[in-house]
């Protein structure tokens, strides 16, 4: 995929602008460092953005630190603790974390101008800042607003030494003595999950999944996880069903090694009882076309989460010009301007009321969906993400409000 392939979606002017900005970065070497080359959101983002930066003539590279089982067990604990889970790190665990970061020192390329470190796993590499100099940025891909304070203090002791940090949403951050930039994640409009589908492709997926479009479709795409509140989704549907004969699709994956998801699924099935209009679909990893088709076949998309990371499934649905009703949590309020590009809810009753409104007023639903799609086009496609990363590299050299390049 080349950047010019996106021209028909975002406009030639946007791609030209990326080229203009990239010219200002000529000769700069940017080194991205994270802890995994495959799987997970960070690797997915880097897999797309690094080649595009290179295509634009920016000397970007990407390296991965190595660590054993023990290291990744510790970083998983850190990850959970930063999400708010009660965890403690023993002095030995802290020691091991530092030791692995130290062993990965050779990953750092001394010729780099910017060290772009992603997430907590390689955060301690900043201890080599004194030796190597240059600019250091820490990219936090997670919501640390309710972080376990003890573990955060440990990570913060490294973060404070960076020149800048990046968060996905204002509410995800914590006061820090360094600059904090706001860069939201993005979706790729040409990926399998988001590209245009023909009616035949959509129909073929629906047939495979035994879904018939004989009744309006309300869909929630998310893991079977308490925080995504699929049970609440059923309650919303049941309130709507009293007035509009519709069907509900709950589609997402489960993790075999996650006992919680099994429990959630059990509760969902219990709640759904024998209602033939509730479709519970367990999708295997990589079901991108299926998700795409389900979103496109929906009349209303629901995201009734209790807590969210950024909640990019909302941007995915909006990109398909679907009217969305979603909880005002995590990064969702950044994606939906209430009553302009979707509807934000705070309760099951509120969500049901909005879903009903949309199903009964197709023109209103259509307008919200179209506005939502334009909002995503302007703000949540990877071209915007690419632009902001480049601006960030430039911003590290400037403190002023207006920078003339």
């Amino acid at each position: 995929m080349k950047l010019r392939d996106y021209e028909s979606i975002v406009g030639r002017d946007v791609i030209d602008e990326l080229c203009l900005i990239a010219e200002k970065l000529k000769g700069k070497k940017i080194q991205n460092i994270n802890s995994t080359a495959v799987g997970g959101g960070v690797a997915e983002i880097l897999n797309r953005l690094v080649p595009f930066l290179q295509e634009l003539g920016v000397d970007a590279s990407w390296d991965v630190i190595k660590g054993g089982d023990q290291f990744f067990k510790i970083t998983k604990k850190i990850h959970n603790a930063l999400h708010g889970k009660e965890e403690t790190l023993t002095p030995e665990e802290c020691e091991h974390f530092l030791e692995i970061n130290e062993r990965n020192k050779n990953v750092l390329r001394p010729e780099a101008d910017v060290f772009f470190i992603h997430d907590p796993q390689p955060a301690a590499l900043v201890r080599y800042k004194k030796e190597l100099g240059k600019r250091w940025v820490w990219r936090c891909h997670i919501d640390i607003s309710v972080a376990n304070q003890e573990v955060w203090r440990f990570i913060r002791s490294f973060v404070e030494n960076y020149d800048g940090s990046i968060f996905s949403a204002p509410s995800f951050s914590f006061p820090l003595p360094i600059r904090q930039f706001l860069i939201s994640p993005s979706i790729d409009p040409l990926s399998e999950k988001n590209r245009d589908l023909s009616e035949e492709e959509i129909e073929s997926v629906l047939n495979k999944l035994n879904i018939y479009r004989d009744k309006p479709i309300l869909t929630q795409i998310s893991r079977f996880d308490f925080l995504k509140d699929p049970v609440g989704g059923i309650e919303v549907y049941q309130l709507v069903k009293k007035y509009v004969d519709c069907q509900l699709i709950l589609a997402g994956g489960t993790a075999d090694d996650d006992p919680e998801s099994t429990e959630v699924l059990l509760k969902v099935r219990e709640k759904a009882a024998d209602d033939p209009d509730i479709h519970i679909l367990l999708l295997p990893p990589g079901s991108d076309i299926e998700i795409n088709a389900l979103q496109r076949a929906s009349d209303v998309v629901l995201q009734k989460s209790i807590r969210e990371g950024f909640g990019l499934t909302v941007a995915e649905a909006l990109w398909k010009a679907k009217p969305v009703v979603a909880s005002a949590v995590g990064g969702i309020p950044l994606q939906i301007t209430h009553k302009h590009g979707g509807l934000l809810c705070r309760s099951i009753e509120g969500a049901a009321h909005f879903v009903k409104q949309l199903l009964q007023n197709p023109d209103y639903a259509k307008r919200l969906g179209e506005n939502g799609r334009e909002h995503v086009r302007q703000n949540f496609l990877l071209t915007r993400h690419l632009k902001e990363y480049m601006l960030l590299f430039l911003a590290l050299e400037h403190e002023e409000d207006i920078v003339y390049l």
Binding site: E17, L20, L176, F181, L182, G341, H375, Q378, L391, I402
Partner: protein
Amino acid sequence: MPQKSSSKAGETFHFFTRVHLRELTGLRAHNLTELLEHLRTVPGSVIYHHTHHFLQQHQYLSPEPPNDFAYWVTESLNNNRLGERLASINTTEFPTIRDLREKIIKTIESEAERKKDQNQAPEGEEFHFVRAVSFVLPTPYVATDLQEFLEGLKKVTIGSLYYHIFESRLRLEKPTNDFSHWLEENLGEKALAGQINKLDPYTHTMEGLRKRLISLIEKRIPKMQKESHEAKRL
């Protein structure tokens, strides 16, 4: 400032573009009192961001691009009256960010006093103060006459329109927008410059504004050609 040289009499117009990056200030408000407290002290670039980013981020939402304060007060504090008053602040009336800040503060103060409003935003819906860092870059597009100006206008990004129309006037405290200034000073197009300056850019989407500008210039070009032809005949 790069655009300064381009708007001197007899000079080529260089189209610049403006892109921005958002920086968190770490300041947040849960209610009107906290909102007011921070409004008095945050840098101008913060006020600018919250009164202008809607124009670029929600450029399809016409005709109501409210400012962030209006949106938050309405949606998170449920204060519709104040929200409406904040949304109706006519940004074009204020020549500087300082004046705009004063107006916003006064509007909130009067309402806070009247209602003793102490509504709290629900958890997670606090107002976060964000600063805009602007980057101004030259584009390859230049104009020496109205036709070239029109061609450039058709090709530049909305960031360029934004820069020449909004940023130059309010944030850089210029008395008019760059387009009107250049058209009047260089081409003697006083009437056209006046028409453009009179447009309320805050009630158009950026693409809508581009269309309006193009239409004004396209109407003017044949008239101008006719005038020039007649002048030659005389």
